[in-house]
């Protein structure tokens, strides 16, 4: 109950912050003062329409061929309208396409594209990172251990865009194994292959961006798993498990991993924000037409409705990830109780 | 009238309010307290070693911290040489810090790993601006290191804590506590983390330093046998209260409170022909959040009766230098 309330408060806070940021941003005010100061340049009916549309004036009356009267909205009017729009997911129209932001987000397939990329990359990174971390902890001091730690440190610290460009250079340009970018080939617009063909081609296009994002994400997970597992394995319950006659596999994956997974859950949630950042870069490098690429372009275009919508959705995702991780934590750790 | 004591506690209380979430406080008004120390009064005489003995959760550590004003009392008074120090500000306490010192349990955590031994020991001197110049400071550090038998001091001064063994580290902690020639020293389980074979050395060293300075010493421990060998008087604590207080011989040989008796009976004896653990009282120390009403020991006491459940027994002097808080012994013993 308390957690739900906290989450709601957090969402309200995020909306408010988002509102303040865009109120303070240059661009809007400048364009409006431009409109107001040079009324002769513009058609007053158009100006009046825009002022009303963007909620700068409550009432606009046209008083002459080049003059009009504006009853300006207060900051509270704008905030309440903004608030209602945000919680009803009414993000307005994109400046670039003049279509509703929600349409550009969903109907264009961007949402699905991003979810595919993120879903594949996170799942693989979590699985590989955890598995290798467990094995590294179990064989601490071995060549496998130091090798996997070194490798994950390298991939963890390399910039994502650099790694992405490197892969494009090697796998796309030199070896020609994978396409250098995009989600689907352009010729699909003319002729789409059968379902199996579609699937295989999609996997081919997904491979490099997913690989980049996985490499960016798995290292931290591996290092953390290794650290928490090392600790769990030195606890007396692991020794008790061995003394009971349990096979080492059971000690590792049942007794130690359940304890070691607690910090992993928190970490996965916390690094979600970073992962979204990584997704923006990866999508841009690989021309992957997802939400990240879209946001990147929107920033260049000063497409405020899109930016506002994306900031809000990213914040919602991070909040949701933390909420879910808290619930998971409660399930995994009996010492924690939520009323 | 004789001098009441270097340090006196009068009706000392320390309640910690339990941390609760913001929303919980909206729902329920009832505040929950951990009664760590609940209305205790005692004093430590000049040049005396007083043992404060109890199990974990008895409030013995909190009492030690209160006396040094490392924690603020919820109620009650602390008198140091007749002066009430229970409400002094940090600035007003500073000159008193020179005279009161503490030695902690863990010699691995109480020393800053990035400081040289010399700096660790010299820090109190620097804070109190005792030494006139650097040379005098070094001289005093050397002298106290010699006193705690870290010789040659020139060599130990330039080491870091991790280069020392546990026993040597605790000697450094002792040196730091005694470098200002304090009048009142609290030692909280100072040897429980050390190897058995070196404990006696550290304890004997502390006793020597205390005696040499005529200081008063509060020795906090869970080990009644060690307290017996160290202390002039012993106070036994249970759930934030003193249940028995008196001269060491009386406490050990003629204990009156059932809890003291139980503690003594639970100490294993290094004599295989005389196995003693037979009648151990059952149960474990209850939570100090909601301590039992009346006598807090009644839940485990083999002699508890209805009065013990309803009435808190006062701490009374049943014979000279022997105080007990128990309804079984509610009037002075007649010999």
């Amino acid at each position: 109950m308390k957690r739900v309330l906290n989450t709601v408060l957090l969402i309200v806070f995020v909306i408010t912050l988002n509102f303040i940021i865009f109120e303070l941003m240059p661009g809007t005010q400048a364009s409006i003062s431009n409109l107001v100061q040079n009324p002769r340049v513009f058609d007053p009916t158009q100006v009046a329409r825009l002022l009303k549309l963007y909620n700068f004036c409550k009432e606009v009356t046209i008083t002459g061929p080049h003059s009009y009267n504006c009853v300006p909205t207060t900051i509270w009017d704008r905030f309440s309208a903004y608030f209602v729009n945000m919680i009803t997911f009414n993000f307005g129209d994109s400046f670039q396409t003049n279509k509703p932001v929600l349409h550009d987000m969903i109907q264009t397939g961007r949402l699905v594209n991003t979810l595919t990329l993120l879903g594949v990359a996170t799942t693989v990174a979590l699985l590989i990172g955890t598995l290798l971390g467990v094995v590294a902890a179990a064989k601490r001091g071995s060549i496998f251990d130091s090798g996997s730690v070194t490798l994950s440190l390298i991939t963890f610290s390399l910039p994502t865009f650099w790694m992405g460009l490197l892969f494009i250079m090697i796998f796309a340009n030199r070896l020609q194994l994978f396409p250098s970018g995009g989600v689907t080939p352009a010729y699909w617009a003319i002729k789409t292959p059968d379902l199996l063909g579609q699937f295989l081609t999609r996997v081919q296009y997904l491979f490099l961006p997913a690989l980049t994002l996985t490499l960016f994400f798995y290292g931290g997970n591996l290092l953390l798993t290794r650290a928490t597992m090392t600790e769990a394995l030195s606890e007396d319950y692991s020794n008790t498990g061995r003394a009971k006659g349990l096979p080492e596999r059971t000690v590792l994956f049942k007794h130690a991993l359940k304890n070691a997974s607690l910090p992993l859950v928190t970490n996965a949630a916390l690094s979600f924000g970073g992962l979204l950042g990584g997704a923006i870069i990866t999508e841009t490098v690989f021309n992957w037409d997802g939400l990240g690429f879209w946001l990147f372009n929107a920033i260049g275009w000063k497409d405020y409705p899109v930016m506002q919508a994306m900031f809000f959705i990213i914040a919602l995702c991070v909040i949701a990830a933390n909420f879910i991780s808290d619930i998971f934590y409660g399930i995994l750790d009996p010492r924690i109780k939520y009323e | 009238m004789e001098e009441p004591g270097v340090i006196v506690a009068e009706g000392l209380k320390k309640y910690f309010s339990l941390k609760r979430g913001f929303f919980e406080t909206l729902v329920s008004k009832k505040d929950l307290f951990v009664k760590a120390v609940d209305d205790i009064s005692f004093f430590v005489k000049k040049g005396e070693v007083l043992g404060l003995v109890g199990e974990s959760g008895s409030g013995k550590t909190t009492t030690g911290r209160l006396l040094l004003r490392l924690a603020d009392p919820t109620a009650g008074k602390i008198l140091y040489r007749g002066k009430d120090i229970s409400h002094l500000s940090a600035r007003e306490l500073k000159p008193l810090r020179r005279e009161m010192q503490i030695i902690f349990q863990d010699p691995f955590e109480s020393l800053d790993p990035r400081m040289l031994i010399k700096e660790i020991v010299a820090e109190p001197l620097r804070i109190q601006r005792v030494a006139k110049n650097e040379q005098e400071l070094t001289e005093r550090v050397k002298q106290i290191l010699r006193e705690v038998e870290l010789v040659p001091p020139e060599e130990f001064m330039l080491r870091f804590p991790h280069e020392l063994s546990g026993g040597q580290r605790q000697r450094v902690a002792v040196a730091r506590a005694f470098v200002l020639d304090p009048q009142f020293v609290v030692a909280d389980e100072p040897v429980s983390m050390l190897d058995v074979s070196i404990r006696a050395e550290i304890l004997n060293l502390m006793l020597t330093l205390v005696q040499r300075r005529g200081a008063s010493f509060l020795y906090i421990t869970h080990d009644l046998a060690l307290a017996r060998h160290m202390c002039d008087r012993i106070a036994v604590m249970y759930l934030g209260k003193i249940v028995e207080l008196g001269e060491t011989g009386l406490i050990i040989n003629q204990p009156l409170h059932p809890y003291t008796k139980a503690l003594i009976a639970a100490v294993p004896v290094p004599d295989p022909t005389h196995r003693r653990i037979g009648d151990v009282i059952s149960g474990e120390i209850p939570s100090p959040v909601n301590p039992p009403p009346g006598c807090t020991f009644h839940t485990r006491c083999p002699f508890a009766h209805s009065r013990c459940v309803n009435e808190v027994p006062p701490l009374i002097e049943v014979e000279k230098d022997h105080w007990v808080s128990c309804h079984l012994v509610d009037r002075p013993l007649t010999s």
């Binding site: 020794n239 498990g241 096979p247 | 190897d195 009976a265 639970a266 474990e284």
Partner: protein
């Protein structure tokens, strides 16, 4: 025939700086129904000996010499899968209850059931009923099988660990510092329980402790370890009546008694050595008040001395 016989057990740890000589040439016997106290300070190798017997040593540690004869069979050459059958059913171990010896994320009952079902083909329900009666045996309310370890007090955790150790009716029980870090009265309760279980079930036991007086309360025999060596070994009466090794004498002097004359506590000068480079020959010689030339040159062997069942590794005798 003794239940367990150690013959020259030598276990070392490999580190980057070399071999840590944690236990060297340790020999002792535990008869049926007998309790042996293994006493020494932290780092003397007593826990290494326990882990060696079960062969659950951490990676990097190796049994380099010696035999561990349990029930007539040497355990040292056995493979891990063969050892798994001996663990718990043959030899079980109780770790310190104050530590995380019970897994905090599983119910206490499930942890006991796991131990039972690992060695016996019984249904979950039957195993759970056994777990309940085991808890009852050690004085814990049987319904508390459904609790998690954090819902237990320190004393109850220690009791639950003992119950779990008895789950497969082992022939030998190793108790590593039982009751240590618990309150005095609770520790006494645990010792009383161990003693009554030993009598009731005829258990053979190895009790590891740093505290001679705890061992004196439960055991018939005692083995004193110092820096990886066994320095004195024999019946508990003999050793307490007439401690021969200077280290044993020092240890006894360091423990204050609650009864008897108040005396000044004594301690052993110096501190236990670094086992990476322990002193040559008798490892106690740098701290020994009676040190002789030969102590620095040749390791003294454990030989019969004094009266009764009593062995000591010291040139004084």
């Amino acid at each position: 025939m003794p239940v367990l016989q150690l013959d020259g057990l030598t276990t070392n740890y490999r580190t980057v700086r070399g071999w840590v000589k944690a236990a060297e040439d340790v020999s002792f016997e535990v008869e049926k129904g007998e309790a042996l106290g293994l006493v020494g300070e932290s780092g003397c190798g007593k826990t290494t000996v326990a882990l060696s017997i079960l062969k659950i040593l951490p990676s990097g540690a190796r049994i380099r010499h010696g035999k561990i004869i349990f029930d007539g069979r040497d355990l040292v050459p056995l493979s891990d899968s063969e050892m798994r059958k001996i663990r718990w059913k043959g030899i079980s171990i109780v770790f310190q209850g104050a530590m995380n010896a019970l897994n905090p994320v599983f119910k206490v009952g499930d942890q006991i059931v796991e131990a039972i079902r690992l060695h016996e083909d019984v249904s979950k329900g039957d195993a759970m009923r056994r777990a309940e009666s085991l808890l009852e045996l050690v004085g814990v309310e049987p319904s508390r099988v459904n609790n998690y370890p954090h819902e237990f007090s320190g004393g109850m955790r220690q009791r639950a660990l003992i119950a779990m150790a008895l789950a497969s009716n082992p022939q030998l029980l190793i108790a590593d510092e039982p009751g240590t870090a618990l309150d005095v009265i609770v520790q006494a309760q645990v010792l009383k329980l161990m003693r009554s279980l030993k009598e009731k079930l005829g258990l053979s036991m190895i009790m590891i402790s740093h505290d001679l007086s705890i061992v004196a309360e439960v055991c018939e025999k005692v083995a004193i370890m110092y820096a990886g060596h066994l320095v004195e070994y024999g019946s508990i009466e003999a050793i307490f009546k007439e401690p021969l090794h200077p280290y044993t004498q020092g240890l006894l002097g360091a423990f204050p008694g609650i009864k008897g004359e108040r005396r000044k506590l004594t301690s052993i000068p110096g501190q236990p050595p670094d086992l990476l480079a322990p002193p040559a020959a008798c490892r106690f010689h740098p701290r020994c008040p009676y040190v002789m030339d030969i102590c620095k040159k040749e390791k003294p062997l454990l030989e019969k001395a004094g009266s009764g069942d009593h062995y000591v590794a010291c040139y004084l005798y």
